[in-house]
């Protein structure tokens, strides 16, 4: 019953790296099938995403690198993907999300405990893969994992906190999302044997891209229609997470109107809260400011991309950057007009 593939947007099918990504997908699937520790649903879930981070690892690997098809790169990418899948599994339990990747969330199918333990297993599987990598690579990955966990913890700790400033939110995003993107891009450099400067640039590129990506997600969460999102919009709002647009709006004169919506009032349904918030985001100018921030990160990403264009799939990454920026402008533009 779960055999149907998750819904995909056309721009997510990215031909140049199809072979490598399929290799990673196959590797994860085979390993999970062999160990038989998790259910078939969990197995499909683990490879059912867009595998964006896998794409990034291979896109930032130098096209001429002999390591391109080596087991190192496949395993590293698989590890990143597994850690990501596990964090989604655990997030869904914490956030009480009902669906993920267009399917019922795993904890709805198997119960919370089974989902939690499956997530843990995926993490440990990733760790054994990473343990085989050279020491300096795995130390960088460990530090990344540390930053991600820290970001997530601060996000939970400061949920429902209207005093969260845009700068605070940006710091959380940098830890929680951007650090993993940065790692994925840097991995390409490290595994491909790039020199230190190029690795650093790839890292910065990844970080800027991660920020951009998180902004697009934040905006989609509030503004995208339910059909496109695969779930009800406003999950962040309902979980008390203050996204960047919200942090901007809280600095605007509309703060007093927003506060009761953040807290939630018994007279309002959840859907109403989300709708009113979305309206306020538009009128307060928060969306425009978010869009400007996104432009800054886009420019930064492009600058770094230019410098490393010879040792990565620059065209493809550029396309991905544009695609993400388009996701933001598509939501914001009609409201401006």
């Amino acid at each position: 019953m779960i055999a149907t593939a998750p819904s995909r947007r056309p721009a997510d099918d990215l031909p140049p790296l199809a072979a490598e990504v399929r290799q990673v997908q196959g590797f994860i699937e085979r390993t999970l099938r062999r160990h038989r520790a998790v259910s078939a649903e969990c197995r499909l879930f683990a490879v059912g995403g867009k595998l964006l981070r896998t794409h990034l690892v291979f896109a930032s690997l130098s096209p001429s690198s002999p390591r391109r098809h080596g087991i190192d790169a496949v395993q590293a990418a698989a590890a990143v993907e597994l850690v990501h899948a596990a964090s989604l599994l655990h997030d869904d339990i914490v956030d009480r999300s009902a669906t993920r990747r267009g399917l019922p969330a795993l904890h709805r199918v198997h119960g919370h405990r089974a989902a939690a333990c499956s997530g843990m297993y995926l993490v440990h599987l990733a760790l054994t893969l990473i343990a085989r990598l050279p020491a300096r690579v795995r130390i960088r990955m460990a530090d990344t994992a540390h930053r991600v966990a820290r970001g997530q913890f601060i996000e939970v700790a400061r949920a429902h906190d209207p005093s969260l400033s845009p700068a605070d939110r940006l710091a959380i995003m940098r830890e929680k999302t951007a650090s993993l993107f940065a790692m994925a891009c840097e991995l390409g450099g490290l595994l491909g044997g790039d020199e230190a400067g190029a690795c650093r640039r790839k890292r910065s590129l990844g970080e800027a891209f991660g920020m951009l990506f998180q902004l697009a997600d934040d905006i989609d969460d509030m503004l995208a229609p339910e059909a496109e999102l695969g779930r009800a919009p406003g999950a962040d709002l309902l979980a008390g997470v203050i996204s960047l647009p919200m942090a901007f709006a809280l600095e605007s004169p509309h703060r007093s109107a927003l506060l009761p919506l953040l807290e939630g009032t018994p007279s309002l349904t959840d859907a109403d809260r989300v709708r009113r918030c979305a309206l306020l985001l538009g009128t307060s100018g928060a969306l425009a400011r978010t869009c400007e921030t996104a432009m800054v990160h886009l420019a930064r990403a492009r600058r770094h991309l230019e410098r490393v264009s010879r040792c990565c799939e620059a065209a493809w990454i550029g396309m991905l950057l544009d695609d993400t920026m388009a996701r933001i402008t598509r939501r914001v533009a009609p409201r401006r007009a």
Binding site: R36, A37, A114, A116, T128, A142, A149, F153
Partner: protein, 662 residues
């Protein structure tokens, strides 16, 4: 007329009966002598700690204990506040009991006679018979039928705290500088009460013991004999000097008056017996200084715990040790006093270390008092808690106690070091959960701390101080803690409290995993890979056993072997760079896997007994030794887990398991 025996035991209290039982069971001809007529009562708190309960079950007295309430722990009361310290492991295997001495001593005597010991009732020992060399060869008896003589190759004196024989023997060894025997004794009075309402199954200890505004080392107790009967008493562990000595009867009388006035449980209670007083001896005698051919056991040897005043358990254990010494010495002619002394010191090491340092007693009382008000420093509370539950740590191997004690200390030190690192890590994470995580680590039967037991027993001292090794241990512990948190996630419940619980378990668990990862990836390749693989096996076992979709068929053996992988990994790490021969590494790691599997299965069987689990556990503990154990410590761990498991299985209510066993 003269009788010849292998062994004469003077005094049929717990120590004497235990010695006679074990000696007679081993085939020694044994004579047990007591000047009283049985059954007879004795002044005592009647409290049997888990240690005493275990010793009694070795005498086959399990059925007697089953007829009495199982005591789950100690309740420390100070005024209107109280705190309960439970014995670890639930009531299935570690519990105390309250059995009146009249009943207990009679049952033990019957056990000894059942094992084949002769018993001379109402017979006093008037003198020990000595060879010119000073060796004891028997004793003169005063029987109801007239004087008599009994000769024996070895004499065990178990005549209690006030016995004239032991006083005579010790008079030769105790110098006057260390004080008279009178001053080294503790005092106690007790009275039985009936018609008490709502007694909980705890040893209730009231502290501090204050008289005329001055605190004294000691406590008042209420030990429940049943739901409505209690043994109420007062004990001075350190008798005050003569000038200011309060009358114990006055102290007890006031305690009882307070209870009747203020304690709702005693509203309708009435005393059911006289108020009686007695003496406890807690100045451990040095057995190596006795004349040859004689051993002292129980109160006669001053084996009452200087902190708790408990003596029955130690009495029974010393009886066992004396019997074993007798068996061995009569077989191979070695010197009993030396052997017995060594075994006794090994077994009762803690008390031995404390003998003579009376200040500790006062200190314990202060600590126990602190236990309940929550304002005392952690260390003090931990110390009091340790004293109360110390008894619980199962005794280790018989004759190898001394090296074992050293290794046991190594395990404790390793755990303390890793605990320090754990605390530091938690603090660095700056999360308000350090206490929670550390309490998980400290919990008895903590699966996460299991690898440390193994590694501590195996690693040489240099390794135990190696920071890299400690990091590896910390990693294993952190992974273990994270896993034990995630298994705690509520499976199906959806209400807000369960949600909050789940979210906390997940966030903290993930943080711990991450923290472990940062430490682990900095370790050298083989260590890092080994830890990762071992933790993956444990994670896999947990993922499989929590799966709700049909999991692939797996035996319990596979399940526990996977869960034990981190312990096996710890064993390998402990031996790393030491003895690289296959026997040096594989042996310990196989043993570690067996040991951890048994411990984990044991813990699981305690919380959720099942016939399949019981059968698996039986297979584990009834099987042969896994690989030649690496030193005395592993043998002790081995013996300990087997003993615990057998005790659990014996108490198991599952008829199928019983049928499978027989």
């Amino acid at each position: 007329m003269s009788h010849r025996y292998d062994l004469i035991v003077v005094g049929a209290g717990p120590a004497g009966s235990a010695a006679a039982y074990h000696a007679a069971s081993a085939g020694l001809t044994t004579l047990l002598v007591d000047r009283k007529r049985f059954p007879r009562g004795k002044v005592c708190g009647d409290g049997l700690t888990p240690r005493a309960v275990r010793a009694l079950s070795r005498l086959g007295l399990g059925p007697l204990l089953d007829r009495h309430t199982r005591i789950r722990g100690v309740r420390v009361v100070n005024g209107s506040d109280s705190r309960v310290v439970c014995y670890p492991g639930g009531s299935a295997s570690m519990y105390g009991a309250v059995v009146p001495r009249r009943v207990l001593d009679d049952a033990m005597l019957r056990a000894a006679r059942g094992a084949g010991a002769d018993f001379a009732e109402e017979t006093a020992v008037t003198a020990l018979r000595l060879e010119p060399s000073g060796r004891v060869t028997g004793c003169d008896l005063d029987t109801p039928q007239g004087p008599d003589v009994a000769e024996a190759r070895l004499t065990i004196v178990a005549d209690g705290a006030t016995g004239s024989l032991s006083r005579h023997l010790l008079g030769a060894t105790r110098s006057r500088a260390r004080g008279s025997a009178r001053r080294q004794q503790s005092l106690a009075v007790r009275q039985y009460w009936s018609g008490v309402e709502g007694l909980a199954p705890y040893f209730e200890v009231h502290v501090p013991l204050v008289w005329r505004g001055r605190p004294y080392a000691g406590y008042r107790w209420i030990f429940p004999l049943s739901a409505t009967e209690a043994n109420v008493g007062v004990g001075f562990l350190e008798p005050p000097s003569h000038a200011e000595c309060p009358s114990l009867r006055d102290v007890l009388a006031r305690f009882v008056r307070e209870l009747v006035d203020d304690d709702r449980r005693f509203r309708r209670a009435r005393p059911s017996g006289l108020l009686e007083g007695g003496v406890l001896a807690s100045q451990m005698a040095d057995p190596s200084r006795l004349p040859p051919g004689v051993l002292l056991v129980g109160d006669a040897a001053g084996l009452v715990h200087p902190f708790t005043g408990e003596g029955i358990g130690y009495a029974i254990e010393s009886g066992e040790i004396a019997a074993r010494t007798a068996i061995r010495c009569l077989r191979d002619g070695s010197r009993p006093a030396t052997l017995y002394g060594r075994d006794l010191t090994g077994r009762l090491r803690r008390q031995w270390a404390l003998r003579g340092s009376r200040r500790h007693v006062t200190w314990l009382v202060a600590a126990a008092a602190a236990l309940h008000d929550g304002h005392a420093p952690d260390r003090l509370i931990a110390a009091a808690r340790q004293v109360i539950t110390d008894d619980v740590s199962p005794p280790c191997g018989w004759t190898r106690d001394l090296p074992v004690a050293r290794e046991r200390a190594a395990i404790r030190r390793l755990a303390a070091r890793v605990r320090t690192r754990l605390l530091r890590t938690m603090r660095r994470m700056d999360l308000a959960m350090a206490e929670l995580v550390v309490s998980l680590f400290d919990a008895p039967d903590s699966a996460a701390a299991l690898p440390l037991t193994i590694a501590g027993a195996l690693a040489p001292p240099a390794t135990l101080r190696n920071p890299e090794f400690l990091d590896a241990m910390l990693t294993l512990v952190l992974f273990g803690l994270a896993q034990s948190l995630l298994v705690e996630v509520e499976a199906d419940r959806d209400e807000p409290s369960a949600q909050a619980h789940n979210a906390a378990a997940l966030v903290i668990g993930d943080c711990l995993t991450t923290e472990a990862t940062t430490v682990m990836f900095r370790l050298p390749d083989p260590v890092c890979g080994g830890i990762a693989r071992a933790s993956l096996r444990a994670a896999r076992a947990l993922a499989l056993c929590t799966r709700t979709s049909p999991p692939p068929a797996r035996s319990l053996a596979q399940h526990y072997a996977d869960l034990a992988a981190p312990s096996a990994c710890a064993a390998r790490l402990a031996r790393l760079g030491q003895d690289t021969s296959p026997a040096g590494v594989i042996g310990p790691s196989r043993f570690a896997r067996w040991y951890a599997a048994a411990r984990l299965a044991l813990a699981a069987a305690r919380t959720a007994p099942g016939s399949e689990l019981a059968r698996y556990l039986e297979r584990l503990v009834d099987g042969p030794l896994v690989d030649p154990p690496h030193g005395a410590m592993l043998a002790a761990l081995d013996a300990q887990v087997r003993r615990d498991a057998r005790a659990l299985l014996a108490a198991s209510p599952s008829p199928r398991a019983r049928a499978a066993r027989s």
